[in-house]
C-alpha cells in the first residue's frame, strides 16, 4: 500500500530517507562520539543536532545512538545505518565535486575536457582526490566527444583532456591512464545468461544488439573489434538508456564495464564472456603536443595513474 504505482518507491524516497544534512550529522556523531561535538562540526547548535538525530530515529523506527552523560555511541543498528549513510554521502560528495567543476567555467586554474564516459564515472572521484590534496584549485569541466576534447585543447580552452577512443586525435600527446573493457550484458532471464561457454565474436556480430549510436566511442570500439559489422537491434543515445533497455530484457547490450558495475553486483544484468574480440580499450589523458601538463594539470594527471 505504501507504493501506489508500479515503480517501487518511485518518488517517495525523500520521505523515507533522512536528508543529506542529517546523514552528515550522523557520520559526525559516529566519528566524534558526541552529539554536541558533531553539532559544532557541522555548524549547528547542540539542541538542533539532538532533535535532528531524534527525528531521524523516529523516521527510521530504530534507535541509532546510545546517549549517556559521557557522550553518545552508535547502537548496532546505528553502526549499520551509518555505513549505509556513508555511501550516500560519498555519492553526494562526488556529485558536489562534479557540479562545482561544471559551474566554474571562468577563472578556474585547471580546465579539463573529458569524454562522457570518463566524466560520468571517473572524473568526480579524481576531482575529490585533487580537492583533498589542493583544496583551493578551482576546476572547470567540459564534457564532449573526442573531437570536441581535441578542439578545446588546441584552442587553449582546456589544459588537460581525457578520451576513450581508439585513436588519439592529431596534434595531441597522450598517456594511457587506465583500461576499460566493453562487455556484453543481458538480463538474467535471457537465454545467454545460462550459457556455459564464451560467446564467439562471429556469434556476437550476427546478433542484433542494443547499442549506442554510431559515432560514439563505445560503438567505434565494438565495430572495430567485430570488423565493422555490429548489428543494431536498437540504437540509443545514452549509456543510461542502453542499460535500462537491457535490464528491461530487450536484448543483449554492449557497454563499458565502468557503466555496469552496480547492475552486475545486484544481478540486474549478467555479463557474458566473449572470445576472439578485442574489447579492451585504453583510457588516455591528452594534451597539445609539446605542452606537457604542469601545475594543477600535472597534479590531476598523477592522481589518475596507476
Amino acid at each position: 500500500m505504501s507504493e501506489t504505482a508500479g515503480r517501487v518507491g518511485g518518488g517517495m524516497l525523500a520521505h523515507r530517507v533522512p536528508d543529506l544534512g542529517a546523514l552528515e550529522l550522523l557520520l559526525a556523531v559516529a566519528r566524534l562520539g558526541s552529539l554536541g561535538a558533531a553539532a559544532r562540526e557541522v555548524g549547528i547548535s547542540q539542541p538542533a543536532a539532538s532533535s535532528r538525530i531524534r527525528s531521524m530515529e523516529r523516521q527510521l523506527g530504530v534507535a541509532l545512538v546510545d546517549r549517556s552523560p559521557r557522550g553518545s555511541r552508535l547502537t548496532d543498528a546505528g553502526a549499520l545505518v551509518t555505513d549505509w549513510a556513508r555511501r550516500v554521502v560519498e555519492a553526494a560528495e562526488a556529485f558536489d565535486a562534479g557540479a562545482q567543476a561544471l559551474r566554474d567555467r571562468r577563472d578556474s586554474r585547471l580546465r579539463v575536457a573529458a569524454s562522457m564516459t570518463i566524466a560520468e564515472y571517473l572524473l568526480p572521484g579524481w576531482l575529490l582526490a585533487l580537492r583533498a590534496q589542493r583544496p583551493d584549485t578551482a576546476v572547470s569541466l567540459l564534457a564532449g566527444n573526442s573531437t570536441a576534447v581535441a578542439e578545446r585543447l588546441l584552442a587553449d580552452e582546456a589544459d588537460l583532456g581525457f578520451v576513450e577512443g581508439l585513436t588519439v586525435p592529431p596534434g595531441l600527446d597522450s598517456t594511457v591512464i587506465a583500461h576499460d573493457r566493453l562487455i556484453v550484458v543481458v538480463a538474467p532471464a535471457h537465454p545467454w545468461a545460462r550459457r556455459r561457454r564464451p560467446l564467439a565474436a562471429a556469434e556476437l556480430a550476427a546478433t542484433p544488439l542494443i547499442l549506442r549510436e554510431r559515432g560514439s566511442g563505445t560503438r567505434q570500439v565494438l565495430d572495430a573489434a567485430l570488423g565493422g559489422l555490429a548489428r543494431p537491434l536498437i540504437e540509443l543515445s545514452s549509456t543510461t538508456a542502453v542499460k535500462a533497455s537491457a535490464v528491461g530484457g530487450a536484448g543483449p547490450a554492449v557497454l563499458s564495464e565502468l557503466a555496469v558495475g552496480e547492475e552486475l553486483a545486484m544481478r540486474r544484468l549478467v555479463s557474458i564472456p566473449v572470445e576472439g574480440a578485442a574489447l579492451r580499450r585504453d583510457l588516455r589523458a591528452v594534451w597539445p603536443t609539446g605542452h606537457r601538463p604542469t601545475g594543477p594539470a600535472r597534479e590531476l594527471l598523477s592522481l589518475t595513474r596507476g
Copy 2:
C-alpha cells in the same frame, strides 16, 4: 584530525547538493521529458516542480534543462548532472531498503540474519532486487557475527542467514554464494606502494598491521592464512576505522575487497599483491539443517547466486 586534509568544508554538503527530492525529480524529468509529467510522477504540482528545478539550477550555477513549449530536455551539463544524481539516488535506495529491513522486526515474512560485512556491503542491493521482484515482501534484518547468526537460525528467529567465516556453524546447511578476498592495502605514500614484486606471506606475518579485533571474521581468515601469526599494529573494532587509519597512513591494513572498492578506485589506498597465502574466503548462505529455504527465503537466495 585524521581528516584534516580531506574534509573541505566538512558539513556543508547539504547546502551545496540539492536534496534527494530534487534529485529524484531531475531523474523523472530526464526520463519523461517534461516537467509536468515528472511532477505528476513524484506527486507534486507542476509549478512546484518548475520552481524546484529552477532553484536547483540556481544552486548549481548551471542550466540543466532546455524548456520549450513542447517539453523539456536535458542540456549537456544536465545529462552529466543527472548521471551523478543517479548515483546518489541509488545509494539512497540501498539505504532505504536496508533501513526498512532494520525496522520491521515483527510481522515480516522473511527474517534474515547476516554477518556485518555482508549486511554492510551486499545485503542492501539484494533487498532492492528482491523488492523489485516481490514488492510486498517485508524483510527484517539482524546483523551479528557467525555465532549470533547461527543462534537466530536455530532458535527459529530467522529464516535465512549469511556468514563469511571459515567454517559453517554446526547444525546448519550452507551453500557458497560468492567469494571474497582479503587484500593488503596501504596509503599511496607508503613504501610498499612502490614495490614491484608481490609480498611474501612471511613478510606479511612479520609486519605489524592495522587489523580488526581478534574474533572478527576477517581476523580469523588472516590468522589461518598466516598460520595464526598476524601481528597487530593497532586493533580496531570496525572496518571503517581500519580503513580510515590506513588512509591516514598509519600502516598496512588487511581488509575485505568489498570494503575498499571505492578507496582503490580513488587511489586513496593501494592494494599490494600477496603471494603464498590463501586470503580468499567463501561467503555462504546458511539455514538449519534439513530446512531448505522456501518461499521468500528461496527467492532471496536465488538473487544472491551467481
